[in-house]
Symmetry: D2
Subunit: 391 residues, 4 copies
């Protein structure tokens, strides 16, 4: 044995390398896989693979797994790799031969796809709810402070007068667009892959419309090859939309960091969003905002990871695809946590009216001055030059 194996057997090393954190990550798929399996069992009964009794036994035990899972009592062993194996193992242990029938007419490939899409559907709804919360918080901010004017910037330089209503309204409108986009995309990928097996169908006369309908899918994803080839593709697309949501937060976090620094102080944040320094007694740092800014880049890199990892591979499943799971889960988690924080921030944000007014210095009105000349008949470019010579 190699020195650096340090007590691991090769089997353990291989298991570690292949399973990775899947057995932990898959906890969030347990319920979705059970729901899909219930529908699958019903369909197998419809096509006479399962008897009425077998179907009922399977459904009862699958519901039991959902209960166990909700109480934190459904374990996935590392040696089982993932929730799908753990669930089949559980069924076989409890129901013997009946359990061994559940995997008829499907492959782990379409099974994973199905569970993931059901999961995405729910998670997207959560994100939509959070976006709505943000829109509400922004609305309250505008109700409270909207009329206050403060400088609008271009090139990180004072440009023209803006207002809290205009500034915050920019985010509100962008969030509304995010919502529309997300709704479209959720529907767009809401296609049932169940029954396409390993990407080339199953040699049995199954009812795909039946399972798709029962699981609430918008439509059946007919072509089995497309089902496998859309793995990664759908995730990459999803990540790119979440990236755009995070981009809005990145920008407004950047605004708040700058606009609350000494020399601006248009905004202030309650202390609970600020942290200190280990050496400098006076510091109050906008760590929460900095992390919101930074986490955008995690999402960018995760989208890039999926897009790059899925390429240069022929049609059909590859084990590489397994690694999309961790990436897309992290995209969800970051977006979720960031939107939760940002809504709280917009709720707590204080606008300092005096600092805003103080900052409305003369040069911000240069454009207005030029337009006064325009109204007097001076061609704009002429007016512009006259005023420019004063600065």
């Amino acid at each position: 044995m190699k020195l650096w194996n340090k007590g691991y057997t090769l089997d353990e090393i291989v298991e570690d390398y292949t399973v990775g954190r899947d057995y932990i990550l898959d906890q969030r798929l347990v319920e979705y896989d059970c729901r899909a399996s219930i529908t699958h069992a019903e369909m197998l009964h419809e096509i006479d693979i399962l008897t009425e009794n077998e179907k009922n036994q399977l459904i009862k035990e699958l519901k039991n797994i959902i209960s166990l899972h909700k109480n934190g009592d459904f374990k996935i062993e590392k040696s089982e790799e993932d929730c799908h194996t753990a669930i089949e193992n559980h069924l076989t242990k409890k129901l013997g031969d009946t359990g061994k029938k559940i995997h008829t007419a499907r492959s782990r490939n379409d099974q994973v796809l199905t569970a993931l899409r059901l999961y995405y559907r729910d998670e997207i709804k959560n994100i939509e709810e959070l976006i709505n919360e943000n829109i509400k918080s922004i609305k309250k901010l505008i109700d409270k402070y909207g009329d206050i004017e403060f400088p609008g910037y271009t090139h990180t330089r004072k440009a023209m007068p803006s207002s809290i209503a205009m500034w915050a309204g920019g985010l509100r409108d962008s969030m509304r667009d995010n919502l529309d986009y997300l709704k479209f995309y959720a529907k767009f990928i809401d296609q049932s892959p169940l029954g396409t097996a390993a990407g080339y169908g199953a040699p049995l006369n199954i009812k795909r419309d039946y399972t798709a309908g029962n699981l609430g899918f918008e439509r059946v994803q007919e072509n089995p090859v497309y089902c496998q080839n859309s793995r990664g593709k759908f995730e990459s697309g999803l990540a790119s939309i979440f990236k755009l949501v995070m981009y809005d937060l990145n920008k407004y976090a950047s605004d708040l960091i700058l606009f609350s620094m000494p020399g601006c102080q248009y905004f202030s944040l309650p202390d609970k969003f600020l942290t200190g320094s280990s050496i400098m007694p006076h510091k109050k740092n906008p760590d929460v905002l900095e992390l919101m800014r930074a986490k955008y880049h995690i999402v960018v890199s995760l989208e890039n990871r999926i897009s790059s990892m899925m390429a240069n591979l022929i049609t059909g499943y590859h084990r590489d695809f397994q690694l999309f799971k961790e990436a897309i889960f992290e995209v969800f988690d970051i977006t979720h946590a960031s939107l939760r924080i940002s809504a709280n921030i917009f709720d707590s944000l204080k606008v300092n009216k005096d600092k805003c007014e103080e900052a409305l210095t003369d040069e911000l009105y240069a454009t207005e001055k030029a337009y006064k000349l325009v109204k007097q008949g001076v061609p704009f470019r002429e007016a512009y030059r006259q005023i420019a010579s004063q600065y």
Copy 2:
């Protein structure tokens, strides 16, 4: 002067660095900018900034620029930076004070945004047309060869029988989805920014609905801050959709490279898509397919560039945004050229029936054998194990 300045003045160095290739790239915006300027002039007349006569003069000269441009006779000097300056300069040179009025109530910021979105609209239509061409070519391929069976792969290993219809149909369905996605997104970003000036509005009572309607926009992008903040965001989103289109080509190029190599040869390509080696007399290499595969990564990196470049910046325009233009133009060009080539490839592709049949070796039917046992009442997992022991 520094040794390494090698005869350049500082002004030239700065001009080189700031203008870059903008003055060349902007050729493709000339017509769009003129069309937007015509509408803008009409609106300025509506609000009494321009007289009837001034408006007519401007429109005539803008149409003249469009003609000059179509004949390749409209030059943008490097010192003018971009098409917007070149057009205003032209108008002023021709029309004097009237020309100096065209920039009233707008900024280069909303002007660029408007021209770009009009350009995107047309380019997306071209891409849609090309996707449709691909779908047609795939259909013809299926009509001709669809029934031929050949191995389906998972893990780059023979898995189960597939067919040309299933394989090509996977791409067709994916392309249809691409089309739906693109149509949604085209509409989604079809918002008129004209009249938001530098991102904080203009101190004049302009008619944004009027210009938006005349230019055929779906809706007005009301909030001026959102207009500026959506720059980059809309482009990043657009690039990510084109990335998904290119992903399909990347995958099918990968398929064709592998499936036409010795030992497979399910497909062959006409010689005009193949190139030779400078040293090896026998080589026929699939360069076109390799480049189609590789160019996907250019699009991935351009999307990543935009996403990364636009971050960590406060609200409002920054010069950094100027660099999105080259990136998104390249995304369009690559996708356009690749789809044009791929449609031609699907038109010319030859399926070698004998090689396909030869490759349908026994192990591809292992699953079918298991299902025969299933139909005899053996639980699937049991049947699986019985058959597995034979391999």
Copy 3:
């Protein structure tokens, strides 16, 4: 309270968002931070901030923490954020006022930098050892199979005869270069930041050479601003070297996946590196190799994340930097695990001599034929054309 807060207080939400997984990740820094703190205490004694007794107490307790940590008994509470706070808290709890002195003349900023660099130094050594193991395994492979000839490919097409010695030697040489590169870089970043505090020095007359020497650093990183600005920069550089190491594995994994597929089968892997399918009884899939290929892209994306996250920020520490930690740790872990697996693969790899020989078909010798004509005096390009006409 918001509906979606679901029982969390705002403080918990903020803590979750800011601390993240730091308190878990930091377990691997505990020993390094203690070692740096021991040296720091010695220095503080040298400059009369600590008495002999205080110094000894601190060192004793820091060594105690190292022991606790090795037994898995040193806990970092989430509320403590990181190991640095946990260690200071522990010292203060045990030693009272003496514990409160340990943070004199340093900031968490230089403290983190120091611990990380000591950690990198050790981890790089581990990676170097693993690269050496790979080189040894490759050497054994060459000793055993080196003489066997098999086709060399260009454009995924047979090109000219290659051999196992040439193929495996390509990796060996690349790994040797990786080793040289890593050794250079390890030395390059082996600069002591200790004593630069928050990036602007500390108003005390400390001895930076003393601590740097004791901790075995190559040199002192003099400029405090550079210390902070090199955070992320050094990590990005490190990630890019590990990326190149992983690239070699990506390529050879790609080789082995293709070269062991039916139609090639030049290589075979023992069953323990292969896995089955849930539906297809006959499948033996190269999952380990596929994951080795895929994990390269994780490293690429992590490097991209660091590079993108660190940009557009002014001089000095930002909380964004905290997120580099998780990224670079993952880069280490992936590279470590992958090199461990790859050495085992090269140890177990079987070359199928008969398949190799079978594949040496006539066209591979086309170049040789051309060179025979060259030796007879035919100009190369002429000879090339003569032979080419035969294919």
Copy 4:
């Protein structure tokens, strides 16, 4: 013919797609390829493939091409694809059969690699020179303004007093490290691939040491497979170092943008580095700095492109590799232009002493106050808390 082919023949479409801009890009390789070809001809004479006379003719004509090229008179036709074909065509046209002999014992693959590495060597030297210019400019800045104190920031918040010497010295030290790194890497990749042909050697007894020595390479890259596999790998590594150089500029550009905004104004830049707005008469915008900041991201994305494009491909040349050329050339160009600009900026930068002093507000000395208590015997953490309560 398809509607959308719009008058192009398929051959033109394929040529466009495969050649791309290679025939333009390759202008910068002409001289390097000729120099390598001269050495190659000398070697062919040494091994009796060329007569003395043939060798002399070839060398004379290759030198002639270098002259033509220097005068801008050496054309590469699009149909020739690249400089290598154009040069061989030229030789054959001028020298007949002698020209047809130049390609003996090499392939375009090793020929391209050789020309690129010679080109990299020169370009790296240029970049080194520019880094040295920057170091000199920074030194002058420190000589002039070094003693001026101004606030040091962490978290974009005032932290502790810094100075121009400390701030600028941070960049100087980082640039010195960049220089060391670049020197190492230049040597590291200075390996001669000439004579490895298409990646599997040439069936002739050539003298690789001879050509490597004549071309000034550090060493021979022995293994032909490694030669091909290092394509992309060496470029990716190179891009990542240039990325780090650009990172320094990104940071100092970010500093200068912020530190020259109203409310700071520690620095000012001469007007020639500033540009105006098309609508706001008062604006002076730091476009040059913004572009320097933004162009970092182009380099990040180009490195990412190379890294992602080169993956998941088996050993040996693929046409995908051709696309590295444009990417790495752009990396060189951006880094070159940016360093040229930055040296000019440091030469012209004005430090506003009064604004710097004004900004040194009380809270910057909080840490110093704590240390005064430390010197009086108060444990640091205690002192910290006492002072913190004052803020």
